[in-house]
């Protein structure tokens, strides 16, 4: 650690940022901002990530590992980071498991390490490392099996405490998220040389191009390297290219936007981090925006991810990916170490020595796994003065909270200990091809590149640059240009390709290196990590192979490899290469697991968007909603609808007082209720009656104009589906009502019947549910009230407008309305429909003109009580398991016509009289409560399934009968009136004796209906 404090004076002039040794192309050193990590305050510059700022301040220890609580530092400089996971912010905005490497720093950011106690440097659970044999591959399956009772009480809490990640916020997320859909001809993912070349080429054709860059700055690896394009530093060329793209009217650019998934039909998911880089979003500004992108063509130019090298104790803070080291130097002006070892199997890694040297670091050694010395290796060693170990390996490392020495094993087998504070390692690059595999198109292994490259591509997708296995910058530019041209052309835009800018070619020249030491001689000490986030080691992979978990899918699940939040971005290829070696197979034959969306974690909040809390789903409001609110109504949800449940009045202390009063009002005077929510479908056409005959069980041909009829619909399997009344308004004109619950599905059903089953029928439908405000006006005085509203030209006397009459009338001096004499309550009742805009006024008018008659509004609860009293089936009776026979409507089934469900309803099992059928129940002991859901048993029978003879479907306190009543289904029920059965309620553990009665409790002869 001492070494770290000896950094040379900083380029930024801020003494606290001791490792800020040069200027970077991505930071603004003219300004200094501050942040805290584990409570300590540090300085940084705008443009820093949390990781670069920590490194600038000499902080190497960033977290503790998942299983073993090993001290971990910063491995990468990108989205693949497995180690440096931190908690950001505090309170409701506390966000765990955030990758420090992609966290844009802002002034005042509070960050904290996680998975440690009491402190990061002094972690009590580091002892897990001592007990590590317990945590080897398959430990979930082996260790915690016995005794079973220990799982919940001991093991699970222990694992949760010990092997956790960060803490989620324990308050509701205060931020706003939103979603949007966008379309383009060509989607370009990534703004490295390939992506920019593609975007420029496609953009110049006039095609609609959408460019997504997950970073805040364009350029990709161009920001991390020295290479030039078009005679200027690559990152400058990238910024110029972006400027040109911004000038193109049909090119749209989204930075800080990660395209995280490829879906069917050219659909992509992307997450735009709108305000993650500021302390809090502006008022009303969304924190993140979830995009659904529909693209005719997509170009995946997502670059690559570098592989670590698997060697013992390769996880100490200060051991980093070589490419990340160059990123910190060139983009952020941070030199992550002063005395470095470069360990590589390829030329790209070698060049890290040059960048470190230029930044002023000492290169202690260059360890090149390749056995033959190359001119580049020799040049690098000469330039930096480093000792070169061709064919060498790192055999071990030292340093508890940060590396301070490495053991280098020469090709000859001799070892030597070399002090260092940084190891820059490169095992080669994996093309970042996740997006190309989400549609289950498999990548293929390329022996020359030692990596998987995209194989068959999904329709409309191309890949370019490193993502496609193309490494040299001129090749990336050329490939991007070709892809952009082809994609635009495929969308009908012709491209003239501009000359490519000049760029230097740098060699790659990789050899396979899947482990530093031969596998048959495992180091006695020192874990060689493959998956840093899930703490999976080379030994675990070996164990999985020995125990027979050899397919990549088994390997993954047995060892948890690749199952952490980073999805094994740095781990998978090393692991399956080792598995291939263990099993004597090739990598190509061993295969790779497929990637699944999202490529990077997506917050649930972003997926929910604005559909949260009260706005989770839309609200449907009835025309009388505002009036009912004024009346103090209590509302209930009925699907999307909000319906008045009851209308409490002062002095009523329990909702049942209110409901009882509302029921009595209807039964003795008059009440009204908004029934707009019932589905209303306008049906017209020469074949309308025939059509009704086909969808309802009963006959319709003879229904006269001006009359309504109750209808029952079955499903094709013969069970009851929906019911309601349909009125005939004209020769070929009907209006159907459905239940509130099935309004949408009945419409869909009718369309299917018409378009698919009987296209020869000439009939049309349209929903008029919203067109009409429909109020039920019920009670012996309902006609008296209506006489004040319906224009006198219309005779609504019982003689002229009897039960089930339907007519178009005018009210209030000429306003068109529809009047139906229908009753759900069993009383003299009407339903009056007015254009919805007048619904509110009609309610107010009813209150006024009805006052002398004692009118009161009633809600759905009183409606429910009254329909039970009258024995009308509703949702609990039409539950999808009951037939027309069960409902006592068997005689309605016509045998003179075809209708939906007729054939299947005739099956013997569906007409068996032993089936439970609708009956009424009253308690034998007055005052006993009947509960819906209770099972019906013969008197004296044991409460067993064998004795189960039916169930209670609906129950209510009846103020009319002054006792509990219920509807239910009882085997052979209609033949058992008068019998006593037991209502067994297993939830309340009660048994109540009940007498079987007719389901019609009120006015069984229908005298009130016809009054």
């Amino acid at each position: 650690m001492k070494l770290l404090r000896q950094g040379k004076s900083s380029a930024s002039g801020d003494p606290s940022q001791s490792m800020r040794t040069t200027t970077g192309n991505g930071i603004d050193t003219s300004r200094t901002i501050h942040f805290t990590f584990d409570g300590r305050r540090y300085a940084a510059h705008p443009g820093d990530t949390l990781a670069s700022a920590l490194l600038a301040n000499g902080v190497r220890l960033a977290g503790r590992s998942f299983k073993y609580h090993r001290p971990r530092g910063i491995l990468s400089a990108g989205a693949e980071e497995p180690n440096a996971l931190v908690e950001l912010r505090t309170g409701a905005r506390r966000e765990p498991n955030s990758r420090a490497t992609v966290t844009e720093l802002f002034d005042g950011l509070e960050a904290a390490s996680q998975n440690r106690w009491p402190s990061l440097a002094m972690d009590a659970l580091g002892i897990n490392g001592v007990f590590s044999p317990v945590f080897t591959a398959g430990f979930y399956y082996k260790t915690f099996m016995w005794p079973a009772a220990f799982w919940e009480k001991v093991y699970e809490p222990m694992i949760r405490r010990a092997a956790g990640l960060g803490r989620a916020a324990d308050e509701a997320d205060p931020d706003i998220y939103e979603k949007a859909t966008t379309f383009c001809d060509v989607l370009v993912v990534g703004t490295g040389p390939a992506g920019l070349a593609a975007a420029l080429t496609a953009g110049r054709t006039g095609a609609r191009v959408l460019v997504c860059e997950q970073d805040s700055l364009p350029g990709g690896r161009l920001r991390a390297e020295h290479g030039e394009i078009g005679g200027m530093p690559g990152w400058q060329w990238a910024e110029q290219a972006m400027d040109e793209l911004r000038q193109m009217p049909e090119v749209r650019i989204m930075t800080r936007t990660c395209v995280f998934g490829t879906y069917d039909g050219g659909t992509y998911g992307a997450l735009e981090r709108v305000a993650d880089h500021v302390p809090t979003p502006a008022p009303d500004q969304p924190r993140q925006r979830l995009w659904r992108i529909v693209a005719r063509h997509a170009i995946v130019a997502t670059g690559g991810i570098e592989r670590p090298i698997v060697f013992p104790n390769n996880d100490r803070p200060g051991i980093m990916l070589a490419g990340a080291v160059r990123t910190y130097i060139n983009r952020f002006g941070v030199t992550p170490g002063q005395r470095a070892i470069v360990y590589t199997n390829n030329d790209d890694g070698l060049r890290t020595a040059r960048d470190l040297h230029r930044a002023g670091a000492t290169i202690a050694a260059i360890v090149d796994a390749r056995t033959t010395e190359t001119p580049l290796a020799r040049d690098m060693a000469q330039l930096t003065g480093a000792k070169l170990f061709m064919g060498g390996a790192i055999a071990d490392t030292y340093g508890r909270l940060g590396i301070h020495a490495a053991v280098i094993r020469e090709h000859s087998g001799l070892t030597q200990r070399v002090p260092c504070d940084l190891v820059a390692m490169s095992g080669g690059w994996n093309p970042e091809l996740s997006l190309t595999t989400h549609q289950r198109t498999k990548p293929v292994y390329d022996e020359t590149l030692c990596a998987f490259v995209p194989g068959t591509m999904p329709a409309g997708m191309r890949s370019a640059g490193v993502a496609n296995g193309t490494f040299a910058t001129p090749d990336c530019l050329r490939e991007g240009t070709t892809c952009g041209q082809d994609a635009a052309q495929a969308c009908g835009f012709s491209a003239t390709v501009a000359d490519l800018p000049a760029a230097g070619t740098e060699s790659y020249a990789i050899v396979p290196l899947w482990h530093a030491l031969p596998l048959d001689r495992p180091a006695r000490t020192g874990k060689a990590f493959i998956d840093f986030q899930n703490d999976v080691t080379a030994k675990d992979v070996r164990l999985a192979a020995i125990e027979g978990f050899r397919s990549v899918e088994h390997l993954k699940r047995y060892t948890t490899l690749g199952m952490a939040t980073d999805q094994g971005k740095t781990a998978n290829v090393n692991a399956l290469a080792q598995m291939a070696e263990q099993t004597g197979s090739s990598i190509a034959r061993t295969g790779t697991t497929m990637f699944r969306p999202p490529v990077q974690p997506v917050a649930i909040g972003a997926l929910a968007g604005a559909a949260r809390g009260r706005h989770f789903k839309p609200d449907r409001l009835t025309p009388t909603h505002d009036w009912a609110t004024e009346q103090g109504a209590v509302f209930t949800a009925n699907g999307l609808w909000h319906r008045a449940q009851w209308f409490p009045r002062p002095g009523e202390t329990h909702w049942r007082d209110t409901v009882n009063r509302e029921v009595r009002t209807v039964r003795t005077a008059v009440g009204f209720c908004d029934v707009t929510t019932l589905g209303k479908i306008d049906i017209q056409g020469p074949d309308a009656a025939t059509f009704l005959e086909r969808v309802y069980v009963n006959a319709w041909r003879r229904l006269p104009i001006g009359r309504a009829r109750y209808g029952l619909m079955l499903r094709e399997d013969g069970f009851a589906y929906d019911d309601g009344t349909t009125a005939r308004l004209g020769e070929n004109h009907y209006v159907m009502t459905t239940t509130t619950a099935h309004a949408g599905s009945v419409m869909q059903h009718l369309e299917l019947c018409h378009q698919w089953l009987w296209p020869e029928l000439d009939v049309r439908f349209i929903s008029v549910t919203d067109e009409w405000a429909q109020l039920a006006i019920a009670g012996p005085k309902s006609r008296d009230v209506l006489r004040h509203i319906v224009d006198p030209a219309f005779d609504i006397s019982n003689e002229a407008f009897g039960y089930m009459a339907a007519a178009t009338v005018t009210i209030c001096g000429g306003q068109e309305a529809r009047l139906f004499r229908l009753s759900f309550s069993g009383e003299l009742a009407y339903e009056l429909a007015v254009p919805a805009r007048f619904g509110d006024a009609l309610a107010r008018l009813l209150m006024k003109v009805g006052a002398p008659y004692g009118i009161a509004p009633y809600g759905t609860e009183a409606l429910g009580v009254m329909r039970i009293e009258k024995g009308h089936p509703a949702g609990p009776e039409l539950n999808g398991q009951t037939t027309a026979h069960d409902l006592g409507m068997g005689r309605m089934l016509s045998t003179r016509k075809d209708f939906i469900g007729r054939a299947m309803a005739a099956r013997p099992a569906l007409t068996d009289p032993a089936r439970p059928a609708l009956i009424g129940l009253v308690p034998v002991n007055a005052g006993d409560e009947l509960v819906a859901g209770g099972h019906l048993l013969p008197a004296g029978a044991q409460a067993t399934a064998a004795h189960d003879q039916g169930w209670v479907s609906s129950a209510a306190w009846s103020p009319t009968l002054n006792g509990w009543i219920a509807l239910g289904f009882l085997s052979n029920g209609p033949a058992r009136l008068g019998e006593t059965v037991m209502v067994h309620n297993p939830l309340g553990n009660s048994v109540t004796a009940a007498r079987v009665v007719s389901p019609v409790f009120v006015d069984p002869n229908g005298e009130r209906l016809h009054a």
Binding site: R252, M254, P286, A610, Q684, D770, P835, R837, G839
Partner: protein
């Protein structure tokens, strides 16, 4: 003396503005659905052509005649007509009753208008169809969703202005969702100059 019924708006008529986009509930209009009976579409088209001097569109579009009556494609062989109050559409259409279903729809749908240079970007937060001028122009219609709510969407002009015809019972919810989308601002990719 009979009581007069006063109409009530489904949503507040007060316009709301954010980020240069204005949301306004349209005035109530007469509206009638016209659905041709089987094999009668040409007869209906001929009648409408003669009576209203307009060609009924066969694709998701709308046309307006000289009297300001809008004819909106609303599905195969089905149209929604919207006109100023007092037009008495049903009477003018009554000769159609022999070959088309006529259904009053004036109270079924509420019109919500989203207008302003950023209206397209705001609409894209709710509407999953391509509204780019190359794909969707003034007069074009889409029967689609706005969030979870089914709408008839129509581009009124090139401001752009979009009209959302939403079921009256859902108008308040859609109004809220549109306003929320407006407050969220114009995304970076859609900078409106």
């Amino acid at each position: 003396m009979p009581e007069v019924l006063h109409p009530r708006d489904a949503v507040s008529p007060v316009p709301l503005t954010a980020h240069g986009v204005t949301l306004r509930a349209g005035a109530m209009r007469e509206s009638v659905s016209l659905a041709a009976f089987r094999g009668q579409a040409d007869t209906l088209r001929a009648f409408v052509g003669k009576e209203f001097d307009v060609d009924l569109p066969d694709t998701p579009r709308s046309v307006e005649n000289a009297d300001g009556i809008t004819f909106i494609w609303a599905g195969p062989n089905q149209w929604l007509l919207r006109a100023a109050p007092g037009t008495d559409l049903l009477t003018r259409l009554s000769p159609c009753a022999a070959f088309a279903a006529l259904t009053a729809q004036g109270d079924s749908r509420t019109a919500l208008e989203l207008r302003g240079p950023g209206a397209r970007a705001i609409a894209a937060k709710l509407v999953p169809v391509d509204l780019h001028p190359r794909a969707f122009a003034a007069g074009d219609v889409a029967l689609t969703l706005a969030g979870h709510i089914a709408v008839i969407l129509r581009q009124v002009d090139d401001t752009p202005c979009y009209e959302f015809l939403v079921f009256r019972s859902l108008a308040q919810s859609l109004h809220h969702e549109l306003h929320t989308a407006m407050l969220g601002g114009i995304p970076q990719a859609d900078r409106i100059s």
